[in-house]
Amino acid sequence: MAKVQVLNVAVLDNPSPFGNPFQFEITFECMEDLPEDLEWKIIYVGSAESEEYDQVLDSVLVGPVPAGRHMFVFQADAPNTGLIPESDAVGVTVVLITCTYRGQEFIRIGYYVNNEYTDPELRENPPLKPDYTQLQRNILASNPRVTRFHINWEGSADKMEDGENVDPSPNISGMLPPSCVTGKMPPLGLMPDNSMDCM
């Protein structure tokens, strides 16, 4: 069971000029005191075609985290325009917020981002070389895509939590009466085994 639940992410300063820093106000809840820090990252997807153009805008450690409900603002500089393919500068892309604990990612929050010229003239006839000073960034804050991963929350010495993730041994699931199998088969093949997409 995840010890950290993200309760809300508020997108601040949105929409804003392309060069403004990203600001996310993150509220999360922790079931018990965490001995280690959480690591949060903002990743800007430069191009849908390739992960090559992903930029980690920033990564911060958050801690100490006692049991309870906490909030903080995660601010990160705008992406380096030099690393974005010119053809992908305008239009829809994605920004990701990820959180890892002990080096394991347990939540990934994705937002669609639309980069657009505010000037109707420019919108009609976009310049060949993107003019980032005129671009406006609009994060689709109402529609986050949240993916949660099961991870081992205990130290590496303690594999208790890990045991939960192991699929029931085949002989036990084989022993289940046929009547109950139909209702309980998880949907297969659509997602990584250990992910729970909440959409």
């Binding site: 849908a48 100490p64 985290v65 409900r69 909030m71 892309t93 890990d162 192991v166 036990i172 990584p192």
Partner: protein
């Protein structure tokens, strides 16, 4: 009968495997399959019961959903006190949930449904032991244990007072165990499994009582669950799937001899679930007709794989009603309301049905008292007897002082904020009331203000390697941390008068909660809605929705969206940086060692359980070992040990003790003389006095606790009974109208008052008692060594010096009399914790405490381990407390005397023993009018007895039952003060 299928109760079409109605009837829980996890949901009952509530948008339907189970949830069950919810699932786990009071509503972030969780239920403990899917869970009467059964063929009994402690694991089934039910009396637990058997286990020793196989021999393992049920009168156990003449039945098993002569027939497919109505009914009296005495009967609902439901009354040969085609798939679970008139049924098809019966259909439900008296008639005093709190709450308060104490009690309960009533009130007020509360302040600042300045205010540092580190702002503390056994113990184990113990524990917890609040920086009395997401955020979101629609239509590039989609779910494997490398290494390492580590785990588990068992053994049988350990350091301090018999040390200056009529002869040389001593018998009784008529009954070796045999002393005086326990066999007894004396095999002499209060600490005799005689308030004993002693119970021993022995016993000398101070097994079992005032520390320094050392603490722990029947434990506790009082008196430790006196009074109040309470008050008050003949002394150990009484009275006032007693003594005290 009304029938309703609330369509909004659903797990998005996924099967619902279990349903359970909260004891207070305001909500119910469902468990089943979630999206790709298990799901537990808590629903509001009001919209099911009333149409107007269903239509009213302000009445929430769903209260909370929990996705924490990793796989399908097979069973959800509320504890009897309603504080906890237990769930068991295919992920082999049992989770126990409790409502978090400090945290307001919240949504599941990112979930498509915008429904907020109105109530917050948190997992407070995860119980891991099963190696297969958990199929059923069940709370024992009074929530002492929680049982879970699994496809790993075992049943695990958990200590519900000390999660995650395991009491035992019941092995014996050779197939998947699919159903559990507790005997309402608490004597048995029954389980049904795919191995064609139903087994009944004793809770006394957790051994198998009965193994019933015949009705199940033809059964195939075709049902998902086998939820069996025990009738509320405890007389019948009804199984799920059984076969009779190759037809499916629900087998009725009689408690008496576990006979299987009857069954419920008629379902066309296997019976999956049987659930008895919690009420016992009697025939409805028709208007005008003369009341005819009729036999009480029970009501039972049976659900089957044939999708139909039948409801039976044990007084009728045919079912009361059969409902076909209620569902599209098999019925999975049934739950009755506590009133006995409503029932929820859930099905594999993912729907829930509610059935509402009228009194005309079922009959008149018996009241709790009537039910209790049925139990009492059949089983004597038992666990099943519920507290008569409900009845007491309607008692008229006759004394304003009482009212004060009652109100104080209620206030302290309300302050805790966890109490069902306040929680329910908060729930009832719902979301509409939460809106104005959003602007609550924290440290003089609203959450809104905090959010505005969060970026500037939050503490940001750089780590040694130059990375940014943000200290998050804590906006609310979880209250799940205080899963204290104390709170859990507030569940009434006592059959009566539990009110005060409740009050006490709540005091304890209320003591701790302000502390929490202050550490939070919250003002006391802050409201629980404080932390709900502020309105601004919602507005933001709304704006966002409007813009997003615009945005999407104007978006020119559609194709990359699909490519982008994949990015949401992929792990950050391509993310540059050190951590990703670590992750991959980590994963690899895991894969390499997974089989390895599993083996290790298994062996560790084995070791753990082995150790645990060892400890249990120590606790149970190794009392002596434990004591010796503790005694050792003391021995060093106390200097010389006494290898010689005690008789040699008792050289008495006879003249100093006025109550002594004769002194024992000088020791050593004369001991050739041996008087005959009575031989020990298993039981004996005698009449000690004619007027008033007092009978004494002794039963030796009634029970073995912590390695020592306990004897019971019962006394009946003018029809009033009392009993007490002694740690050794009673050899002889005597009594007068005022006192009772018993001599034990271990040469201890105990003296009791006519109401059963211990008057003197146990007196150690030099040799076995030969003859014992009592007259008025004098006790005479003649020992085998021909020593004659006479004590007056009105005199108090003033014992010094004290000798502590390595076996945990201590002795002190009072001129000629050797007094044993403690060292019985009573302390191991006495359960007086609920009576302890919260300021425990004050007594830790008295001479008695020094003498007893940590043994006392050991006793507190041990008391939980021994599964002694309640009445026995009650007697032991009483005996122990009286011993403490007498010892404190002997040691002249005034503070400790006062402390134990209050504990004792509290215990008496809790247990409702009025005689002893009255006797105690009488002794403390003394004669109201001065008379020369009175030998009453106004002080004890320098404490004024009437002051003590003043302290005791508020304790008495907390239990409404004693308001007459309270008033009586309150008035007399008042009278005396005015004089």
């Amino acid at each position: 009968m009304k029938l309703l299928k609330p369509s909004w109760v659903s797990h998005n079409g996924k099967p619902i495997f279990s349903v359970d109605i909260h004891p207070d009837g305001t909500k119910f829980a469902t468990g089943g399959q979630g999206e790709d996890s298990g799901k537990v949901m808590i629903w509001n009952m009001a919209p099911v019961l009333r149409e107007e509530d269903e239509k009213n948008e302000n009445v929430p339907k769903m209260l909370c959903q929990m996705d924490n189970h990793l796989a399908c949830v097979n069973c959800v069950r509320w504890s009897n006190n309603g504080l906890y919810l237990a769930s068991g699932g295919d992920d082999k786990l049992v989770m126990v949930w409790r409502r978090a009071a400090l945290i307001g509503p919240s949504t599941v972030f990112g979930s498509s449904s915008k429904l907020a969780n109105v109530e917050q239920w948190r997992c407070v403990t995860i119980l891991r032991n099963h190696t297969g899917d958990v199929m059923d869970v069940a709370w024992s009467p009074h929530d002492v244990w929680l049982a879970s059964c699994s496809v790993d063929n075992t049943i695990v009994i958990w200590n519900a007072r000390k999660f995650p402690e395991m009491v035992t694991c019941l092995r014996g089934h050779t197939g998947l165990v699919k159903g559990l039910t507790w005997d309402p009396v608490g004597k048995y637990i029954a389980s049904q499994a795919d191995d064609h058997s139903l087994k009944v286990w004793r809770t006394m020793d957790w051994q198998m009582e009965a193994n019933i196989t015949k009705p199940f021999s033809e059964c195939g393992g075709t049902t998902h669950v086998l939820r069996l049920s025990w009738s509320p009168d405890g007389q019948y156990l009804v199984s799920a799937h059984a076969m009779n003449n190759s037809g499916p039945t629900a087998q009725i098993v009689e408690r008496d001899g576990w006979k299987t002569n009857m069954d419920f027939v008629g379902h066309r497919k296997a019976v999956t679930v049987v659930k008895f109505n919690p009420k016992i009914f009697k025939k409805k009296q028709k208007n005008g007709s003369s009341p005819k005495p009729s036999c009480p009967y029970c009501c039972c609902a049976v659900g089957s794989k044939d999708r139909s439901l039948s409801v039976w009354l044990t007084s009728l040969k045919r079912p009361l009603v059969v409902i076909h085609d209620l569902f599209d798939k098999s019925i999975m679970d049934i739950s009755w309301t506590l009133t006995g008139l409503g029932m929820l049924v859930c099905s594999m098809d993912g729907t829930v049905a509610y059935l509402d019966f009228s009194l005309d259909e079922l009959g008149d439900p018996l009241s709790e008292e009537e039910k209790n008296s049925i139990h009492q008639n059949i089983y004597g005093k038992s666990l099943a007897i519920t507290s008569t709190e409900a009845q007491l709450s309607t008692t008229i308060i006759e004394n304003p002082e009482i009212l004060k104490y009652q109100q104080e009690r209620q206030n302290s309960q309300a302050n805790v904020g966890l109490g069902g009533a306040t929680a329910a009130a908060a729930a009832a007020s719902g979301p509409e009331s939460s809106t104005p509360k959003l602007n609550s302040v924290m440290n003089g600042e609203s959450l809104e203000d905090i959010r505005k300045n969060l970026l500037k205010k939050q503490v940001e540092t750089r780590t040694a390697d130059g990375r940014r580190r943000i200290t998050p702002l804590c906006i609310a503390q979880l209250d799940t941390g205080d899963f204290s056994p104390a709170l859990f113990n507030s569940a009434p184990i006592l059959p009566s008068g539990s009110s005060v113990s409740n009050q006490l524990t709540s005091q304890l917890s209320s003591d701790s909660s302000p502390g929490q609040a202050s550490s939070l920086g919250l003002r006391p009395g802050h409201d629980p809605m404080l932390t709900s997401p502020p309105a601004k955020g919602l507005e933001d979101n709304k704006d966002g929705v409007m813009k997003s629609t615009l945005l999407l239509t104007s978006a020119s590039k559609i194709e990359p969206m699909k490519a982008l989609d994949s990015r949401f779910t992929e792990r950050s494997k391509a993310t540059p940086g050190v951590t990703s490398a670590i992750t991959s290494i980590d994963v690899k390492h895991k894969e390499d060692s997974s089989s390895d580590s599993e083996d290790k785990m298994a062996s560790i588990n084995k070791n753990l359980s082995f150790n645990k068992r060892k400890q249990d053994l120590l606790m149970d049988g190794g009392e002596v070992v434990e004591k010796r350990k503790k005694g050792r350091p003391r021995k060093d301090k106390m200097a010389p040990t006494f290898p010689q018999p005690f008789t040699q040390i008792t050289a008495p200056p006879a003249e100093r003790e006025p109550s002594r009529a004769a002194a024992p002869p000088p020791p050593a040389p004369v001991t050739v003389l041996r008087l005959p001593t009575p031989s020990p018998r298993k039981t004996f009784s005698l009449q000690v006095s004619m007027e008033p008529s007092v009978f004494l009954e002794v039963e030796n070796e009634v029970s073995v606790v912590a390695g020592s045999k306990l004897s019971q002393l019962r006394c009946s005086r003018d029809g009033r009974d009392w009993n007490t326990l002694l740690p050794s066999s009673v050899v002889t007894a005597a009594g007068s109208s005022d006192v009772l004396a018993v001599a034990c095999e271990d040469r201890m002499l105990s003296v009791f008052s006519s109401c059963g209060r211990r008057l003197l600490p146990a007196i150690q005799m030099g040799s076995p008692v030969s003859t014992l005689h009592c007259s008025a308030h004098f006790v005479m004993a003649l020992t085998a060594g021909a020593a004659l002693s006479v004590w007056s119970v009105l005199e108090h021993f003033q014992g010094v010096p004290v000798v502590g022995l390595s076996n945990g016993k201590s002795y002190c000398f009072s001129s000629s009399t050797l007094i044993a101070d403690k060292g019985d097994s009573m302390v191991q079992c006495a359960d007086f914790r609920s009576c302890l005032p919260s300021h425990d520390a004050s007594v830790s320094s008295g001479p008695l405490a020094v003498m007893q050392g940590r043994n006392l603490n050991a006793g507190r722990l041990a008391s939980r381990l021994s599964s002694t029947p309640h009445h026995l434990q009650q007697s032991m506790t009483l005996a122990f407390l009286e011993n403490q009082l007498a010892s404190a008196l002997t040691l002249q430790s005034a503070q400790e005397y006062r402390y134990w006196l209050l504990v004792y009074a509290r215990f008496l109040v809790n247990e409702g023993s009025e005689f002893r309470l009255r006797e105690l008050c009488k002794e403390l008050l003394g004669p109201v009018h001065k008379s020369a003949a009175s030998s009453w002394e106004p002080t004890t150990l320098g404490l004024r007895k009437r002051d003590l009484l003043r302290e005791v009275l508020p304790v008495i006032g907390e239990n409404l039952r004693f308001q007459r007693l309270f008033t009586e003594y309150q008035d007399q005290l008042e009278l005396l003060r005015n004089k």
